[in-house]
Symmetry: C2
Subunit: 477 residues, 2 copies
């Protein structure tokens, strides 16, 4: 009991924010550093990010993208080249002013995002239509000087990937923007077991310098939305600001059309708040650092630890990510520890199991236990891990659907928002003033104009004029 | 001819520095950015780094290390915690003084290395002997405000990995220092085909804060040495400065013993200058982004391009990294282009080859061509790639041996240094003044005290007093 108490966490019903903080610290995902807003990704947290990177990077490479690395510093002159972009980012960048003891002749910011650097490089390397498209991506850290910070959700430095592409035509660039939005949505569904809404951001929520911003929006367990990834279409605005021209097949000079798109370690915060429960983290099996933890029962009995290690070796060889909990703590302590860490499957093996040629498999997501034969253990585990993935996805989808409301008028909206958080779908005229009015009155903003439109009524929820779009509203992280 | 001229490079005999610059730019490894000393790693250059990362990371994980990510910022207070360390690094760090428009209350440096961050974290997470050893590594970029910069060799920002470990005893930490030095040497030999000398740095060349610094030293084609990796033993000095204590098995508080070790994108500069020639880059096959480039001959003839693509698919499926040069340029242009890029094997396939069921394989390192049957192509390629690796290594080793001289007295040293660059082996008393005197008189410094000692004479080359060590001298990058 004393052992278990160490890892006790706040219940999410009592205090969702504290529940979240307890999990990221006690599951050993992060540690705080002495620099505000900058966290340390500990081995378990970083291993999750490595898996996210591995699978996403494969998806990028399969769609023809190449990785590069840009400098982390941007000169003030370069940052200022595109007017909207600098206005959006200058207020939140960190400035380097000295190198050693010497003041710099021009101050440099630490990249908050790298559009300006990619554009400068593209202006060097794009000359002809033969050089297009350029489909580049980079994995790096970026810095944004946020006032309030929380691990994974909003931090002053965070890890991410940023894709930057250049195309000969607007059509191609728009297709790329959509393609990468779909890659992100597929990744969330197929690796994080997390349903997302694909949509376009309204004008007021666009990325600084973009013609259009698309996003995937997920709903957290507390009914608050989280923007989990974005994909931007730039038209030829950056190309004109940075002089990125190519000679087309008719030998005429023409500006390129560009996109950028990114996801970050925020994805980790997202799945924590979608799948986690009062016993701790629940890690989606396909990105789990350990998919299976083997807990030997009655470890002092002859043959038990040996059998556990033998299973570890054979399961590793079969491609599972697996760990043996061979510490001296009690099985009960280990059960709680790996529950807290959200390992998808616990495999229990003791003297009686060995005698019977079987073992116990316990699911983290539902706590169900099954007894399976050791003879076809690999197949049982493959099936079980897929089951877990699918049922985590279905559960999250059902929860999101239950928390998604339709409002056809202000009375609906008043009732829904008074009852609690969630997504609210309404019709909207497209006018920014209506977004402001609804935000003031009900405390919710537009999250996106979903790609899958529905017709709920003919008029805007706010002003009553003819509606242009169905939109999602909600609070957001 | 006009096509080829575009890619012409300076001969290394005429101007080695210009030859190097030509290669890194024309093989499309890097592009310059507008921030001095910060380069862009282009897709081909970054793909080399990705392969280096992949194989090294496997070696780290096989030796029990876990990856983490530390913040990029270090507060001035934290940097100052260990006296020698701050003295070594403060003169060359970049300082962040503002976040957005607000001045920071304490300035932050961008990490030049992360000992202080790891130590702060270790002081939080190490309590008991059960928490040891901690075997952590991180892949990241670091910043050092260098005056003179060259791509890969010395830049203001560079990519690297830094291992940081904490142990219960000095013996364990020393063993770790040596183990990682051996991992680096093995990697250089088995992946970069590059021989290195393993040795200890002299007192004057130690890392800031280390008790002992070990290094691997390679000899470039111009006879100048390059330090390709380092491994440091810290004793308990950092532990005392940062208060990293654990309770041992007797329940007594004790300080940990630490190490750190790192290699960087400098490894790319190293193999360029070891293997490159006047036709361009020569990439070691095991880390080459493309091990094989397939050049279709008479591409317009029916079936040629199809056969080339069919070979690409089957070779990729067999695990080779391969590309088809299907552009509209002439075969001659393609030969020169992929020679410049250093692709280990060129596979030529034309109508006559198809008829004969064979193809031509041309080696980048020796220019030799062989005709092989398509029936056992995979086996031929495996053998050939291993041959290339081995003969690149042997050639580099023979070159280094030929450029390594023995000096038993000042006259020897005078003759050797007058004749040109290279390693010089001499005996040394261990006194720093002798290092200074030799440097002043002959322009060479100690590179390392090699682990494999030889007895050349009884007395120091400089002062004539009894010798303690055999050392390597030379100029260095």
């Amino acid at each position: 009991m004393a052992e278990k108490a160490v890892k006790e966490i706040t219940s999410m019903q009592d205090d969702f924010a504290q529940w979240y903080t307890d999990i990221v610290l006690k599951a050993e995902l992060v540690d705080y550093s002495s620099v505000k807003g900058c966290v340390i990704l500990r081995p378990y947290g970083y291993a999750i990010w490595e898996n996210i990177q591995k699978y996403l990077d494969n998806m990028f490479k399969e769609t023809g993208h190449e990785n590069v690395y840009m400098p982390m510093f941007i000169s003030e002159t370069l940052l200022q080249r595109e007017k909207d972009h600098v206005e959006g980012f200058a207020p939140e960048v960190a400035w380097v002013t000295h190198g050693g003891s010497e003041p710099l002749t021009e101050r440099l910011c630490v990249r908050p995002t790298s559009e300006t650097l990619f554009c400068e490089h593209y202006s060097h390397v794009i000359q002809s239509w033969r050089d297009l498209p350029k489909l580049y991506n980079q994995w790096c850290s970026v810095v944004r000087w946020e006032k309030t910070t929380r691990p994974f959700l909003r931090s002053r430095e965070f890890l991410w990937q940023e894709g930057h592409t250049a195309h000969a035509t607007a059509e191609e660039a728009i297709a790329e923007t959509e393609r990468m939005l779909n890659v992100y949505a597929d990744f969330c569904e197929n690796y994080l077991a997390m349903p997302v809404v694909k949509g376009r951001k309204t004008e007021s929520d666009k990325f600084a310098g973009a013609e259009a911003t698309y996003a995937i929006e997920a709903l957290m367990h507390d009914g608050v939305a989280l923007q989990a990834g974005t994909s931007h279409y730039f038209g030829d605005g950056f190309a004109k600001a940075f002089g990125i021209q190519f000679s087309n097949k008719n030998n005429q000079l023409q500006y390129v059309y560009q996109t950028s798109w990114g996801v970050s370690t925020r994805l980790i915060g997202a799945f924590i708040m979608v799948h986690g429960d009062n016993n701790g983290l629940v890690v989606p099996p396909r990105i789990a650092p350990y998919q299976i933890v083997i807990v030997p029962i009655a470890m002092h009995k002859p043959g038990v630890l040996e059998k556990a290690k033998e299973l570890e070796i054979s399961l590793k060889a079969a491609g599972f990510r697996v760990q043996v909990a061979d510490g001296e703590q009690s099985p009960g302590w280990k059960f709680a520890e790996y529950e807290m860490k959200g390992v998808p499957v616990r495999l229990e093996i003791g003297p009686r199991d060995i005698e019977n040629g079987s073992c116990v498999l316990a699911r983290r997501d539902t706590s169900e236990k099954i007894i399976v034969s050791l003879d076809n253990l690999e197949q049982s585990l493959n099936t079980l891990l897929d089951d877990i993935h699918n049922s985590m996805y279905q559960k999250a989808l059902a929860y999101r659907n239950a928390m998604t409301y339709i409002a056809r008028n202000r009375d609906d909206l008043k009732q829904i928002t008074a009852a609690g958080n969630g997504f609210v779908k309404t019709m909207w005229c497209g006018d920014e003033q209506c977004e402001i009015d609804i935000k003031t009155e009900f405390g919710i903003g537009t999250r996106c104009i979903p790609l899958e439109q529905e017709h709920l009524s003919d008029t805007c929820i706010c002003c009553g004029r003819p509606a242009k779009y169905m939109v999602y509203w909600g609070k957001q992280y």
